[in-house]
């Protein structure tokens, strides 16, 4: 297989990147619509384990249909793959794709658990291969702004992070729509590994990784599922910063409110409005040097409003293609996807053992725990075929 040239910035017309989609379910079909609009991509194949699904998509987008990912990698002319299969197979298909010299864009989570993440990441031995993850929310201007303020030091050293993230409302019909969903065997988790994966990625992307995680997961609390659908996690960071991460798929209307407190003030994001309340004197300096018992540092409010939500999935796709064609730097390198999985795993593991977990998490121990959950599962999944799906409502 010939890799796309990295030296194509001489002005000559770049060849389209030949891309195959593996996994033509809800997300896969959503990506197909984006791919069809891109001039830099030639869709060569669609692969799905369900033949009709592969066939339908292949007919619609004029490409070949496959049911076996390995055959796509062996036979098709694709140089890159987009993997949008159920989570566990991200690892197996991802490894096969990387080992056969394909660029890979993998849906989130990059794998179900840390040990699989490490296996998958290790498979990218050829560093010329572009390996990215679909963390589309990194393109959102409001998170970009927050990251800039935090990592740029505007907020000062962090004291506390709070994210109430309960606007991932899902119905029983959603969980019943696929047999793999929200089972230990099929999906390997619930809200953490699926919906909140984006937010866990943003959290680590903006604030770095905690050193200790205390998770409180509730399993099938609001839904007919065996995995977690309500979570509170308490986080401690190396510099003493603490964090609380609350998520649920059982609340409507739900809340998405992120607050990050640093010595120099508070960032609050809710309803696309970011408010930076900036301290004129850092909070801890005020504590140390004020002569008055009930003094407060004077503050100033800066409001950022956001009208658009960024390029999202399409931008991640374009960035992946640009990285292949021109060596553009990735918005979301897949290697970074390990952190969000580690956070999700640690929250789950801590919850099961009833104790805090120090990071880095032992991936092997967690994998064993997950296998135990699978082996001990007595959950009987009911699936429904008549489920209305408008996936755009899911974001």
């Amino acid at each position: 297989m010939i890799l796309a040239s990295h030296s194509s910035n001489y002005g000559e017309r770049m060849d389209k990147v030949k891309l195959a989609l593996i996994g033509a379910g809800g997300m896969g079909n959503y990506h197909l619509a984006n791919i069809a609009r891109m001039e830099t991509v030639e869709l060569t194949a669609v692969c799905d384990i369900i033949p009709e699904r592969a066939q339908t998509a292949a007919e619609k987008y004029h490409c070949r249909a496959y049911t076996d990912p390995q055959t796509v990698l062996n036979d098709s002319t694709c140089e890159a793959v987009l993997i949008a299969t159920p989570h566990y197979t991200h690892t197996t298909i991802g490894i096969a794709a990387l080992e056969s010299g394909h660029h890979v864009l993998v849906e989130k989570p990059i794998s179900v658990h840390k040990a699989d993440c490490e296996r998958l990441i290790a498979a990218r031995r050829d560093k010329r291969l572009v390996f990215a993850a679909m963390f589309n929310q990194r393109t959102d201007p409001q998170y970009l702004k927050i990251r800039e303020l935090v990592t740029g030091g505007e907020l000062g050293p962090l004291l506390r992070i709070h994210w109430t993230l309960t606007d991932w409302f899902r119905t029983d019909a959603y969980y019943a729509s696929s047999s793999w969903r929200a089972t230990w065997r099929g999906e390997g988790g619930g809200v953490l590994i699926n919906q909140a994966m984006h937010n866990l990625d943003l959290l680590q992307w903006i604030c770095g990784m905690p050193t200790r995680v205390w998770g409180h997961c509730r399993f099938g609390q609001r839904h007919q599922i065996e995995t977690e659908d309500e979570v509170t996690a308490y986080l401690e960071y190396g510099n003493g910063c603490t964090g609380v991460f609350v998520t649920s798929t059982g609340e409507a209307p739900g809340t998405n409110c992120l607050e990050i407190i640093g010595e120099r003030g508070r960032l609050r994001l809710e309803n696309s409005r970011l408010v930076f309340t900036r301290n004129e004197i850092p909070a801890l300096e005020g504590i140390r040097f004020s002569k008055s018992a009930y003094d407060m540092p004077p503050t100033q409010e800066i409001v950022f409003s956001f009208t658009d939500s960024g390029g999202q999935h399409a931008e991640i796709l374009e960035n992946f293609i640009a990285a292949i064609q021109t060596g553009a730097s990735l918005i979301a390198p897949a290697e970074e996807g390990l952190h969000a999985v580690e956070l999700a795993n640690a929250m789950l593991y801590s919850s099961i053992i009833g104790q805090p977990v120090n990071l880095p998490l032992d991936g092997f121990i967690f994998e064993q725990q997950l296998e135990k959950l699978i082996a001990n599962s007595s959950f009987v999944k009911t699936t429904m075929t008549e489920v209305e799906r408008d996936i755009r409502k899911g974001f």
Binding site: A173, R222, S292
Partner: protein, 392 residues
């Protein structure tokens, strides 16, 4: 009772808070008469005695011997709430105690037991606690709304209350403050009893408490100044309580989620998202994978807080003595917030969730150990005190 039909009340402890009560009792309330002031700090006792032309006492035992004394308002450092209240109740003297009821639940239980005993002898004896926050319009409105059942089954309550910013000067202002021996705790025991009381008033007591407390993290003190707690209730509701005295600007945001919607209080505004039907029913009944529950948004009107409301509690306390009218908060209710605060600390010390009720003995012993092993050296400096800034 004095001839004027007013209750003769002495204030014990005329520090920051006590001096406010002295003024209310002497000048503001129609049904009280300031009988005396008492403080171990003689200069302070003398100052208020002179100002209001009442006798000064330096030892509460002497005060309690005085004929004609109907009631005491106890505003001393927390540990002293217990012996003073018990002794007064034993003598048939009505007691209104500042928050917290006591430092630990063992002491609190002794106080409520003393009240029960006193009641056998003095059937009309009153034992109230200064939970004036319940009177604030927004809290009262939320309580009424919750009690109306319009939110349906509750799923979550998250309260971030980190707007208790305190400087080192505040902690250095009194020798007893923020020490295990003198105060017995930090932000949970001093700043948060009102919040913890409102929590249990709104939602009842949780079944299980997980606490994460940080000791002297942002201040040179030996007690907690940052706390996170996770509550699990028997009805399936979860609660979060986050408090700090180190944040500027600090947050005070309470979010209550029920199956019929969400209520959010922040910046004195109560916002309501009212679901057209139950989100929990929708989970079961919907045929759509990605569904939403239609809801109406509105703001519940609340009058802004214009005044401290301690005087209303004192007035109601005096009314209860004079006419048998109900108290705004009975002291025994103070056991709940005390239990929450103690449970958060004990869970944090033990590194595991605790099921309520907690063992008061275990907590008291832990506290004794903290006092005994304390190596904290307190340096006291006079600080500028603008007490009006201290309430939320």
């Amino acid at each position: 009772m004095s001839n004027s039909g007013k209750v003769n009340i002495a204030v014990i402890g005329v520090g920051n808070m006590g001096s406010v009560h002295v003024k209310d009792i002497a000048t503001r309330l129609p049904n009280t008469n300031l009988a005396a002031v008492c403080d171990t700090d003689r200069e302070r006792a003398d100052r208020y005695a002179a100002e209001y032309h009442v006798p000064a006492f330096y030892d509460y035992r002497e005060l309690l011997q005085q004929a004609g004394l109907d009631a005491v308002l106890v505003a001393t450092p927390h540990y002293d709430h217990t012996p003073i209240s018990i002794e007064a109740l034993e003598k048939g003297i009505h007691v209104l105690v500042e928050k917290p009821l006591a430092v630990h639940v063992n002491d609190g239980r002794k106080m409520t037991a003393a009240y029960e005993q006193a009641r056998a002898k003095y059937p009309n004896i009153q034992f109230g606690i200064m939970f004036m926050s319940r009177l604030h319009t927004h809290w009262a409105k939320i309580k009424k709304f919750l009690d109306s059942g319009q939110l349906g089954r509750l799923a979550r309550a998250t309260w971030i209350v980190t707007d208790w910013y305190r400087t080192q000067a505040y902690y250095d202002g009194s020798g007893w403050r923020a020490t295990w021996r003198g105060e017995g705790g930090g932000v949970l025991l001093n700043q948060c009893p009102h919040n913890l009381d409102l929590y249990q008033w709104f939602f009842g007591m949780p079944q299980r408490v997980s606490g994460f407390a940080h000791i002297g993290k942002y201040h040179d003190i030996e007690v907690e100044d940052e706390v996170t707690a996770y509550f699990e209730h028997e009805n399936g509701m979860v609660g979060h309580f986050i408090a700090s005295t180190a944040e500027s600007p600090g947050t005070n945001r309470l979010e209550i989620v029920g199956e019929m919607g969400k209520l959010t209080l922040e910046n004195g505004k109560v916002r309501l998202a009212h679901n057209e039907h139950s989100m929990l029913e929708n989970i079961r009944a919907s045929k759509a994978a990605f569904d939403a529950v239609p809801y109406q948004s509105e703001e519940l009107p609340c009058e802004p807080l214009m005044d401290w409301l301690h005087w209303k509690v004192t007035q109601a306390f005096a009314d209860a003595i004079l006419t048998g009218a109900p108290l705004l908060a009975h002291a025994s209710e103070g056991l709940n917030s005390l239990t929450l605060g103690n449970a958060i600390m004990l869970s944090s010390f033990q590194g595991r969730p605790l099921t309520l009720p907690i063992d008061g003995q275990v907590y008291e012993m832990k506290l004794q150990e903290l006092i005994k092993t304390s190596r904290y050296q307190k340096v006291v400096h006079e600080a500028k005190v603008d007490f009006g800034k201290s309430f939320k």
